[in-house]
């Protein structure tokens, strides 16, 4: 059963969104996605959420968040890995033929709590937590490992960060941060070797929703034009132990990439026109383009990626939405010409413990 994206919405990003409570943020985004898809809440037969209790400040966050995502008297389920993971499960739910019209919703108010405190709480209490492992330290360990593995120089990192900010500045759905100069970046404080503050994407508040439809639903509901087909979703996880091999091998990223491409019927990166990468730091982008073996012609993160907006838990699903917009020709000022296939990548957990890759294709392009 083929699965399509029928509509989507990305909430306007903010450094600190005080005007709306979490439910209201998600309601607005879900409603906008339904409107974009031209369907009503009552038509949904499944809702798949991606959220994190510890970031939301609730013990079972979906209790308050399922309804704003449109789940009233509907089959609803939640994953806690990342927003992109919710898209993967939602795709499986539609492919299983048990469901035909699904909402995928994810959100994150990074400003609501001290994210690094939550990250420390993620560490197991005996060996990891006592030395304060958090996002900064694990990203620094990753940066160091890939720096050595791929010979990534600081020059390249500065260049990639600057380019990301430049693309992000054109993105109508981004924060519109000022583009820092190379000198600014190089002069920013060293937070943990080799990471400087300027190399890391600032956290923001945001939400993103997508409406998925099965081919069967589209057949039964003529007049709806899908934005893109979801042709491949792959995900994988890495060892919890942050050894050098674990960090540099990027094994789960490669497995996710391979699985997504295989599902999409592709035998390499050649068929991909655009990829949105969740580059939490400049090192990430440099490492992922190598791990995925992306050829020159592939446009990397035209949206600016996390440097446009970075609602941590759902940044990867925002990237997926950006990829869908590219395929649908609706990306606006950051639109890449003639996009037939776009991929999106997301990573989550310590030093990218989990990776997700999604492939979207222009609707109809895959049908012979």
């Amino acid at each position: 059963m083929n699965v399509y994206v029928l509509g989507l919405a990305i909430h306007e990003p903010s450094s600190r969104l005080d005007a709306l409570r979490l439910e209201e943020l998600v309601y607005r985004t879900a409603r906008a996605a339904l409107d974009d898809a031209g369907v009503t809440r009552g038509q949904l037969d499944s809702v798949t959420l991606g959220s994190c209790d510890e970031l939301d400040g609730r013990s079972i966050s979906s209790m308050l968040m399922a309804m704003p995502a449109g789940a009233y008297l509907t089959d609803e389920i939640k994953v806690t890995d990342s927003g992109a993971s919710a898209l993967c499960l939602a795709t499986a739910r539609l492919k299983s033929e048990d469901f035909d019209l699904g909402m995928v919703a994810s959100w994150c108010k990074s400003s609501k709590t001290d994210v690094e405190s939550v990250m420390r709480l993620r560490g197991e209490p005996f060996f990891t937590r006592p030395f304060g492992l958090n996002m900064l330290l694990s990203d620094a360990l990753f940066a160091q490992a890939v720096e050595l593995a791929f010979g990534i120089g600081e020059e390249e990192v500065v260049g990639r960060v600057r380019a990301s900010y430049e693309r992000a500045a054109r993105n109508p759905r981004g924060m519109g941060f000022e583009v820092p100069s190379a000198a600014d970046l190089r002069a920013s404080v060293r937070e943990a070797m080799p990471l400087r503050k300027g190399y890391r994407a600032p956290l923001t508040d945001g939400a993103v929703c997508m409406v998925l439809a099965s081919e069967r639903w589209l057949d039964r509901n003529p007049g709806h034009t899908p934005m893109a087909q979801v042709t491949g979703v792959g995900w994988a996880t890495d060892s919890y132990r942050l050894g050098e091999q674990r960090l540099r091998s990027m094994n789960s990223a490669r497995v996710a990439w391979r699985n997504a491409l295989r599902q999409a019927g592709l035998d390499g990166a050649g068929g991909i026109d655009v990829i949105e990468i969740e580059s939490q730091t400049g090192y990430h982008e440099a490492a992922y383009v190598r791990a995925f073996g992306l050829p020159e012609h592939v446009a990397v993160s035209p949206s600016g990626g996390p440097f446009a907006q970075n609602p941590l838990f759902c940044t990867g699903l925002v990237g997926a939405a950006e990829a869908v917009l590219q395929v649908a020709g609706r990306a606006g000022a950051v639109q890449v010409p003639r996009v037939r296939r776009a991929a999106a990548h997301s990573c989550h957990g310590y030093a990218q413990q989990g990776n997700v890759v999604m492939v979207f294709e222009a609707a109809g392009a895959g049908i012979a």
Partner: protein
């Protein structure tokens, strides 16, 4: 380490975890809390579904439209569900405490709060006095602060059974 012991070392690592969260008031909480300061209980209404909600909310889960007006709730209502917490809860008030979900007049949904002024020495008897269907009134504290505990419920008469509503 010396010697070979068959028993592994047993123990616990104890840690106190504190996280701070800022819960934004959002679109309606502030209006509701301000209402309380003026001894008003404000509900939101969705014109599409015609539902009037307490606690107030910005949108209607059913119609999936925004709630588009404020309605002042009556200061009397009917108990829809109740219990008396006897032990085992370390909340802000020591048990025994009576709580009830009350559907205030003019509102479609029920809102939870304490029931005050009940003799809780005989739990069975107290439960009979606050059983579903019983009418209660709202009582505000002397100086409302803009918090849910600014008000609570009280039985309408000394004899709760005389104040029973028709039920459904």
């Amino acid at each position: 380490m010396s010697g070979n012991t068959a028993e592994p070392a047993r123990g616990y690592l104890t840690e106190q975890v504190t996280l701070r969260y800022d819960y934004a008031f959002g679109e309606v909480v502030g209006t509701f809390m301000d209402g309380l300061k003026n001894r008003k209980i404000l509900a939101t209404r969705c014109s599409k579904s015609a539902m009037v909600y307490l606690p107030p909310r910005a949108f209607c889960e059913r119609s999936f439209e925004k709630c588009d007006s404020w309605v002042e709730a009556g200061h009397e209502g009917v108990i829809e569900a109740s219990t008396i917490v006897v032990r085992g809860f370390e909340g802000s008030r020591p048990p025994p405490i009576a709580v009830a979900y009350v559907r205030l007049d003019g509102v479609d949904s029920a809102i939870v709060n304490y029931v005050e002024g009940l003799d809780l020495s005989d739990v069975e008897a107290a439960m009979r006095r606050i059983c579903p269907g019983t009418r209660v009134s709202v009582e505000f504290i002397d100086e409302p602060q803009g918090s849910i505990t600014d008000f609570h419920y009280r039985l309408l008469t000394d004899d709760g059974s005389a104040a029973r509503a028709g039920g459904r």
